[in-house]
């Protein structure tokens, strides 16, 4: 197998928790912090750390607002995030193709 594809996998996305966040956001234009936390069964601290890492990589944007005087935090993928996620999926598919018996 050509190890090229495996080495090209984005390390920021590759981590399990961050990949889960990216996957959820890839299917929805935006998701609230609580929705992601509850679905992924993560702690507040854990998900906050992952969101910050993704935000620093430019893959995710965080919007803080108020809904009926309650704070509402929503996350969405940036254009760079969508591109990085698509690349990651393509590389996984490439790995599967390469190792498929001919």
């Amino acid at each position: 197998m050509n190890p090229e594809a495996f080495l090209q996998l984005d390390r920021v996305i590759h981590e399990k928790g961050r990949l889960a966040i990216m996957s959820m956001l890839a299917a929805a234009p935006e998701l609230s912090f609580t929705e992601m936390r509850d679905t992924l069964k993560m702690t507040d601290g854990n998900i906050t750390t992952h969101i910050r890492t993704l935000q620093e990589a430019g893959y995710l944007s965080v919007t803080k607002s108020f809904q009926n005087n309650r704070p509402l935090t929503t996350c969405s993928l940036t254009t760079a995030g969508k591109k990085a996620f698509t690349n990651y999926i393509n590389l996984l598919e490439e790995i599967i193709q390469q190792t498929k018996p001919k």
Binding site: A28, D38, T39
Partner: protein, 210 residues
């Protein structure tokens, strides 16, 4: 090499599952179903007891019950969204609303035409209950693609009930009287919603244990 392939395939499967899950509507449905169930049963009982027998009265009365159901459901969904610090008009809510809308729109237009146009003979006013039940079943099966599986089943139950009512009318001469119409609406709309609400109350995962 096979291990790498398995690992990549498993990763893709996890990604697919998470993408599907994030697109699903996740509000607790038990209170909404219970509310609509109680409203339907009470509506049917009041309509029958008050002997609302005219076609116009029947349609107007059930249009009012329908609006109360819609308004109550809206309030319950909004309250849940606020409580969970989540946007009310979220993408899954939008998808569910879009799936529900066409059949509900057709049902409303049919009711409105039967109410306003006495010469409209496309659908007898008293044939409206089975028609409404069928359309509601269709709207639920459509919305069920964005909700948990039980909703599609509930939609099919409505469709079966609507079909059975049409078949009953084929066997017996004449149409449903409005008083029987109240009974049908109360039993089918109220009964099925309430049964579904009770079932969901015991089986629906609570928040934070999703």
């Amino acid at each position: 090499m096979a291990m790498e392939s398995n690992w990549a395939a498993e990763h893709l499967q996890v990604i697919r599952t998470l993408m599907e899950r994030s697109a699903l509507y996740r509000r607790a449905l038990a209170p909404i179903m219970t509310y609509n169930g109680v409203l339907g049963i009470v509506g049917g009982a009041v309509g029958w007891a008050a002997k609302i027998d005219s076609s116009r009265g029947f349609i107007g009365y059930w249009a009012g019950v329908g609006l109360a159901a819609l308004a109550g459901s809206f309030v319950l969904v909004r309250r849940q969204a606020l409580k969970e610090s989540e946007p009310f008009w979220s993408p899954p809510t939008r998808r569910v609303a879009q799936a529900l809308l066409p059949a509900l729109f057709v049902g409303s237009v049919a009711g409105l035409l039967a109410l306003l146009c006495p010469t409209w003979d496309f659908l007898q006013p008293r044939a409206l209950p089975p028609f409404w039940i069928l359309l509601y079943g269709c709207s639920l099966t459509g919305a069920g693609f964005f909700m948990h599986r039980g909703i599609k089943l509930l939609g099919w139950l409505f469709i079966f009930c609507g079909s059975a009512l049409m078949a009953t009318r084929c066997q017996t001469a004449g149409s449903l009287s409005s008083l029987n119409g109240h009974f049908v609406m109360g039993c089918v709309f109220g009964g099925l919603h309430l049964a579904s609400g009770i079932y969901l109350y015991f089986t629906e995962p609570r928040r934070n244990e999703t």
